[in-house]
Structures are given as C-alpha cells and as structure tokens.
C-alpha cells in the first residue's frame, strides 16, 4: 500500500511516514496542499493520504476539498492528522470529505488503530 504524507513540518512527516513504513506502507511526502496535488497528478494514486490542516500555500482543508472534487481521486482515503482539536473542526473536515481524523499528539498505536478502522492495515503489519 502507498501513502501520501502531507505536512509542512519535516519532523512530523518523518514521524508519520516512519510509523506507516513500519506497518508496511510505501510513503511519499509533500510539504503543503499544492505540492500534494502535484504529487497526485504525477501518480500513481496512493491508497491513503494523511493531511495536516495548517500549512503554507494551500491548507489541508482546501486540499481535501479539491481532492473530493476530482472523480479520479475517489479511491484515495483521506485522514486529517492535525493539532486542530475542536469538535467543530472535526465536523468541518468530515463534511469536506475527510474519512478519518487523528489529533496531534498521537501515538503509533493510535495511528494503527485508525488505519484498522479504515480497512487500510497492510496484511504484513508488524512483520
């Protein structure tokens, strides 16, 4: 499985991508929403995108909205991974088309359980 990790912090991209690779993912990284859209255009389409909210150039909510507007990207699951922690923000993200929502800070177990909910845990997990 392939994941696109979208976050403006290199440290956070490393934490998320590292946890995903341990679960058996191949990962690609993008530092903002616009770069993430460019990565999608290059293809192939990832199974999963983890999306930060607050980023320069294009924020995560805009990215999610744009991905949802494109039928070609329908097969990709999107999970917000962000420090935005209000009830209303989670509602907004789900309404925009995000499938799941993980609040920073999070542990690797929490990430793994969210992927299990989404049916996106590679069979080789933990191997």
């Amino acid at each position: 499985m392939r994941a696109l990790v979208v976050d403006d912090s290199r440290a956070m991209r490393k934490i998320i991508a590292g946890a995903l690779r341990k679960l058996g993912y191949e990962t690609v990284e993008a530092a903002d929403g616009a770069l993430a859209l460019a990565a999608l255009q290059e293809g192939p389409l990832p199974d999963l995108a983890t999306v930060d909210w607050n980023m320069p150039v294009m924020d995560g909510l805009t990215f999610v909205t744009q991905v949802r507007a494109n039928r070609e990207y329908r097969a990709m699951t999107m999970m917000m991974v962000t420090t935005e922690a209000e009830h209303g923000q989670i509602v907004r993200a789900l309404a925009a088309g995000a499938h799941e929502y993980l609040i920073k800070p999070f542990t690797p177990e929490a990430l793994e359980e969210k992927l299990a909910l989404l049916g996106l845990l590679p069979e080789v997990a933990g191997a």
Partner: protein, 276 residues
C-alpha cells in the same frame, strides 16, 4: 531534587505489588517526572518528600494515585474491532428476531475498566436498536472502584479519544469539556456501572442476551475460570452470546458451550439453548 534511592525502591515495590509491573533501575527519572504533579498538588517540597510522606503515613488514596500515575495505559474504543463488527452485523440482527416480542436487550460488559467497551457497545446499540424504539441496557462491572469512578464520569483525554474511536462517532456522541471529551447523556444513560468481583456471586445482576468477558479470564487459574464460565452460562438468557478475548476459549475449561464463528470471531453460546 533527585529522587532518593529509598523513595524509588518503595515506589517500585508498591507498583509491582499493585500492578505486577516491574520498574527497573534507571527509571528514577520517569518515576520522578510522573509524580511531580501529585507531589505539587499535595504541597510537598519535592517528590522524595511526597513519597516519604505516603510511605510513613500509609494513605490508600495516595498509593492508588501513585500506581495509576505510573501505569496509565489507554485502552481502546472498539478494541480489536472484529468482535464489535460481529456484534452489530450478526448478533444484534439475530436478537432483533429473537426478542421481537419484548423489544429489549440486556448486555453485560464484565471487566469494563474505564468504560470504553460499554460505551462502544452503547454507540452501536444507539444506531441499530434505539433508533427503532427498542430498549437497551448495558451493565458494566469492574473490580476496581477507581476505574469505575472514571468510567461513570464518562470523560476521556485527547489521547484516549485518539484510540480507535471513529471520527463520525466522536462527532455524534461526544462534547469537548476543557482538555477532555464527555460522552453525551444519550449514550451515558444506557450504561449502569457497578463494582463486581468475578469470583463472587452474580446474583442480582439479572439475565443477559450478550456478555463481553474479554481478556480477563487469563488472570485466573483453571478452577476459577471454570466456575466463572459456569456462572456466566446461568446469567445468559436462552440463545444468548458470550464474547471472550481473542486468545481465550471455553474449550478444556467448561464444556457447556457451543462455539460459533462469525467472520473470524468465535462466539460462545450455551449448549441446548442454555436449558441444561
């Protein structure tokens, strides 16, 4: 400022006795950092002074707080996933047929810890039964009155909320209160919490359609397991369901059960419909 050797050893002994968790030498810093908030709240000069105080004048509450501060381990919502899927996709629909005359089901979450299991069941029942005018009762029990107090409050930290709770259910059933999240009354009122030692009598609990008894039998010896399973059989209504932990079985322990596979999940049902 550093933790004294006496204080550290005393804490290690306490934690090993109460939780079977072994804190190795070199964990002094961890112990100190975890206990600073307790020491500060108690008005102690530092952590060693706080520990010495509790050591010299034994204080059950403070001892519990120390053990909890050093052993906190969030449990998950919908833990292990598959049993809850089996519950909502197979067991609840079957009970809808079997209990159509009473339109009411009772579920027991035994060893409910801080409440994630009974509230997870409550959220599933709210979606599948309550919306159709059924009545659902969840009885949640645990040995520890401390975890029951927390469960009853229905408040969970951000880290706890991150553990396996689907975002759409969070949005529907929880409200933020400061740094914590409160389970809404609609779900909370479905669950009744009470203290219970599984080795004692189950009289007074009533009869159940479903029992979740997961990852707790492992702590008992064979004789006790057998006795608990026999009591659970009696507490199940005819045609009821028992869910055990993934590594637990009735086989070779109590022979009064049939096993049924729902997907990859084994459920256990009393032989002869429970009339034996």
């Amino acid at each position: 400022m550093a933790l004294t050797a006496t204080a550290f050893e005393w804490v290690c002994t306490l934690v090993r006795r109460e939780s079977a968790i072994v804190l190795e030498a070199g964990k002094e810093y961890l112990v100190e950092s975890r206990l600073v908030p307790l020491a500060r709240a108690a008005g102690a000069a530092d952590v060693s002074a706080y520990v010495d105080g509790v050591r010299i004048r034994p204080d059950r509450k403070a001892q519990t707080a120390i053990v909890e501060a050093l052993t906190t381990n969030e449990t998950s919502w919908f833990r292990d996933g598959a049993p809850f899927t089996a519950f909502s996709t197979a067991v609840v629909p079957a009970l809808k047929q079997a209990r159509a005359s009473t339109r009411s089901i009772r579920v027991w979450s035994a060893a409910c810890s801080t409440g994630q299991e009974p509230f997870s069941l409550g959220m599933l029942l709210a979606d599948s039964l309550l919306s159709e005018g059924w009545r659902a009762d969840i009885i949640a029990t645990d040995l520890s009155t401390e975890v029951l107090d927390k469960a009853r409050a229905g408040r969970f930290s951000q880290l706890e909320m991150n553990r396996g709770l689907p975002a759409p259910l969070l949005v529907r059933h929880f409200t933020r209160v400061g740094t914590q999240w409160q389970v809404n009354d609609a779900i909370r009122k479905l669950v009744q919490f009470q203290q219970l030692n599984l080795t004692s009598s189950f009289a007074g609990l009533g009869q159940f359609d479903v029992v979740f008894l997961r990852n707790v039998l492992i702590y008992f010896d064979l004789e006790t397991k057998r006795s608990i399973l026999a009591k659970v059989r009696k507490a199940l209504r005819p045609g009821g369901y028992l869910f055990l932990g993934g590594a637990e079985t009735t086989l070779g322990v109590d022979e009064g059960w049939d096993r049924e596979l729902i997907g990859r999940v084994s459920v256990h049902r009393p032989k002869n419909g429970g009339q034996a």
